[in-house]
Symmetry: D2
Subunit: 346 residues, 4 copies
């Protein structure tokens, strides 16, 4: 049994971690931390946890955490974990950071896209990128884990198997992302106000989303060619779910079924990646509440362009579910431990 | 390990049973049956079950079922189980009927409210009403179980603790029910068409809902006075969830906190009933995906009227979750076995 | 042509007034005022007004307003108009207050329910309550108008025709209100955050909603008996619309059709009240974007209780639409001038 | 005053036409026709029309129509108007076809994409494509009008101004379409069932949508080079609205502001096209209930790719609104007559 602390337990990723840890056979929740709500009982903020977890939210205290727990999840906004995670890592605590603070290897990129100065640059190179299906070996021996962004997870799982194939035009990649509103967190704002979001679709942060350099960095690892892609984000009137529609130009003729073979082979040991057969494509509801990433494909013979549909639950595979999956790997447990949820449907 | 068959596996209660059985340590799914879709693979209808359950839907065959399984769930529309359940019961198979066919003890009431002639009247008296919190002893030894209606579950769990108290005017009971659309099943119709339901609230079946006699029958058991109540149903633009706002006139002065004491005492052994403290009331999202029924109270001193707020997930505590809870009781297992889901939030 | 100013033009009632004034043949918008956003162009806050209204939001200045316009709408939160409206009235400007500041005749009730001290008590008695269908004669000669609350409009239009009939038990009135989220305004908060409201129903402010004394005060006018009623409010995952389910005990036998006759007679000159025939009830979507209040009825012979369903668009008949309707009356124009919108469906 | 008939008045485009004709100063509704619902009163199907339009739906009768009306709108599914429209055109009746039957000039393309044999091929060449902003001169003298598809309208208004500029790579065009559910009409099906659509996004008809050849045909008119594009469609959990995200590779360096100049010039006489300034993009709610098409732009210097955001209300500018706009042009009336709706917000 490993003891666990969640920093930022008052956000959506935080409460999802509580749900998952609660169902996990080898994890026990010892400490929940919140800067903005310390002193409050978590059920005052989240009555759905009544009689399940009724602990107080505590202030952050490195020594107390290091004494009490084995694993720390940072479910904090950008700019927090860079200050607090390194000390815990030094003390030998396993850390998983769900924020973007340790995903980019370059502090310059961090500054350009996050509009903040990184305060612990030297740790950027030590972090292990926790896209589980792709980085399993490194994760086993990670010093600490930078859990991928939600869009980045959906986009990368859809794209990576094509990167080595020599089949695509590397300059042609476009990801059209569509996300539910929970991805924006629990902080009230007009852009997540019900009356503004409901019965509405809108594009936002065109050309400026911080997952762009994250995706490009990882794609580079898989094709050794610097990639510049177009990635657009859209807000959808739903709570959970991301669907990425990915477009790539093919430089050779290939059928949808041959594409499927490439992915079947790539993901043969990936219990959370499911492939739809030709002519059908996954929808976000088909993975809701689960850790699955479902993929579907279409090769348009008219344009010789491949369309990939990738869906995840942004709070699960896009955040807390993948964090638990990484902790499973890190501890040498079965990857699916505590994560075998059937999607909640309808 | 008990082997299980679901009849009507192609409906929403059916697939929810699949989700629950899949997580249950002592149940294994052997057979899924569908009249309208026999021969099809379940994942053709429900891709979210890919790589989880990929069985064919079979035709109904009493002997085959009796040979293969120990427990049968009927997740069928009204008018089906009355023809098929009795033969299985005779063969010693444990049956749980999620439809309304065996809930009313009077075939005349069945005819009046379901607009059908009952074909196996004699079984009406043998059935055990599966409102777990209230009927636990009878369920232990049930010959077969009539699982309560979704609205009836929310209404009765909210009302029953008051029935013996001598505190209420029995003629004053009003239940204002609000339900998500999944309660209407998966059969397409204009009344469940997205463009008609979205951004809309409507009342339906006023004075004609078949859960009225069901609630009245059970209330009579708990106060020995025939009850006639007003029960109104409203369709809410959401998928899952029922909220019942229950109004009763008080005939004595009593505070909200004293009411809470009555419920605390009544539900002290009920792991799935949670009570909100004075001044707060539960919302449907706080039980989504779980088997909880959450209750909140308000005594209006100005009118001496008690308002009770009762919420459930209609597909869980209002159908499949409670069915599993009943099977747990029936088998002598811990009531919460396979049902300890934290609500999915947000 | 009358010149118009909107104070609080940056809220939802404010922009709805802009939409309506823009379509009105005899009103022209001269000035838009906002305390919190003065200096901004309205289209920065509401791009849907691009190329329609692109004015700056101004600070409030009594003299400037009095010089420039004939009519002022206050679409402000509670506690604002009580300080600013009286001076305008003194200067002979026609004012319509969409807030609750001048609806209650008693400053004590204002303090009890609004939790504020009224700063201009003497004006409480001068105000005319703008429930158009009921107060048309007084509105014609009003010094200024207190536009009714949204719930109060739906509740009162449903109840008033019964108050004089001698058919009902005055102690039995219950209004179960269900509202879209726009009623809470545009100020972001967790309770109107998309991820919290979507796929959710919740009760709020039980026994504490400020429309309770408003409804009771007006009902008293129509039956000369002090009324204490139960009024519950529920938040529905939709943007616009209010549905009130109203319950009253009947003290005589009467059929649904006889009830319909009472309402037909009462509303024979009310172009915005529509009655559904027996066996059907209105839904909120059927009035969306329009100024209609639709009513449906059900007499339950089993309980001798009348259920009334009343629906409005809360931003229209529940706020800005009724404000324009009142201005029409006040100016001696046809009541429907500029308001003949067919509901937007679907 | 022109007299009007709507064929297919029982569908969503049909009732939207009723709403618009009702507000139009020069059109009067004489006849509503429905094959599937003839004999019924329209308010039995659409209670929101109570006291507004309460006519019977009639069977289709060419002679009766020709005698009674000047203009006929076909708001019918594909495959209907091709049989009925030609006879009316021969009799001199002005027809606007909102279906796809006369949009494609090639009967082979019609067969390939609509999976039907066209029964009146010779009329394909006579029809005028009713994309108002682009075809105004031809519409003035049209024999009859093929009203554009909803996606095609949003896509083409976004793309056409770029086609002549010599700035784009013609092989690179991708349209990622996102639509509300009303576009699928009122016929119930699982794919438009509330519980399946709500809290869900899905891709559908990849590479097979019938608006693909429609868009390609019109683009060819504007660049004289045969275009093959990728067009993907996604179902969004909302009722109204289409947002198209359009991607084109630029072959020269150009800024977002220079792009804006191109569109400003192209649409200088287009009252229903609104352009958002650099750094902001329109959302579907900002045009809801109105006839506007709002456009926003982003040039990504990193990839030299242009992203165009185009939004419309699919039932208005994407169907019935544009049909009225075309009738205005056809009759020599001001283009905006009866269409000056401010969007309904929120």
């Amino acid at each position: 049994m490993q003891k666990v602390c969640i920093v930022g337990a008052n956000g959506y990723s935080g409460v999802e971690l509580i749900r998952l840890i609660n169902q996990h056979p080898f994890l026990s929740l010892e400490l929940i931390v919140s800067h903005s709500n310390s002193g409050k009982v978590i059920t005052d903020l989240y009555p759905h946890l009544s009689e399940i977890v009724e602990e107080n939210l505590e202030v952050f205290d490195t020594n107390e955490i290091a004494e009490k727990v084995d694993i720390v999840f940072f479910a904090t906004p950008a700019g927090v974990s860079m200050d607090y995670l390194p000390a815990l890592v030094e003390l030998g605590i396993k850390c998983v950071d769900l924020s973007g603070d340790f995903r980019l290897r370059s502090s310059q990129l961090y500054k350009d896209w996050y509009k903040k100065i990184h305060t612990n640059e030297s740790y950027l190179q030590q972090s292990t990128y926790g896209l589980t299906e792709v980085n399993k070996e490194q994760i086993k021996n990670a010093s600490f884990i930078a859990n991928p962004g939600c869009y980045a997870t959906a986009g990368l799982l859809g794209l990576i198997p094509m990167m080595h194939t020599g089949l695509i035009n590397y300059e042609s990649i476009i990801i059209d992302g569509k996300s539910g509103v929970s991805g924006a967190g629990r902080n009230p704002s007009i852009s997540s106000h019900f009356a503004e979001v409901n019965e509405n679709v809108k594009a936002y942060k065109l050309g400026a989303h911080q997952h762009i350099p994250e995706i490009e960095q990882i794609l580079l690892d898989h094709c050794e060619i610097p990639i510049k892609l177009t990635f657009s984000t859209h807000l959808i009137p739903m709570t959970r779910g991301i669907l990425c529609t990915i477009y790539v130009d093919l430089i050779k003729k290939i059928s949808t079924n041959e594409i499927l073979d490439i992915y079947r082979s790539f993901y043969k040991n990936a219990p959370f990646v499911r492939l739809r057969q030709e002519g059908t494509w996954p929808s976000t509801k088909e993975v809701l509440g689960s850790n699955f990433c479902d993929l579907g494909f279409f090769v348009d013979e008219r344009t010789n362009r491949l369309t990939i549909i990738s869906v995840i639950d942004n709070v699960m595979k896009g955040a807390s579910g993948q964090a638990i999956q990484n902790v499973n790997i890190l501890n040498g447990w079965e990857e699916t431990t505590g994560l075998s949820f059937t999607p909640v449907y309808p």
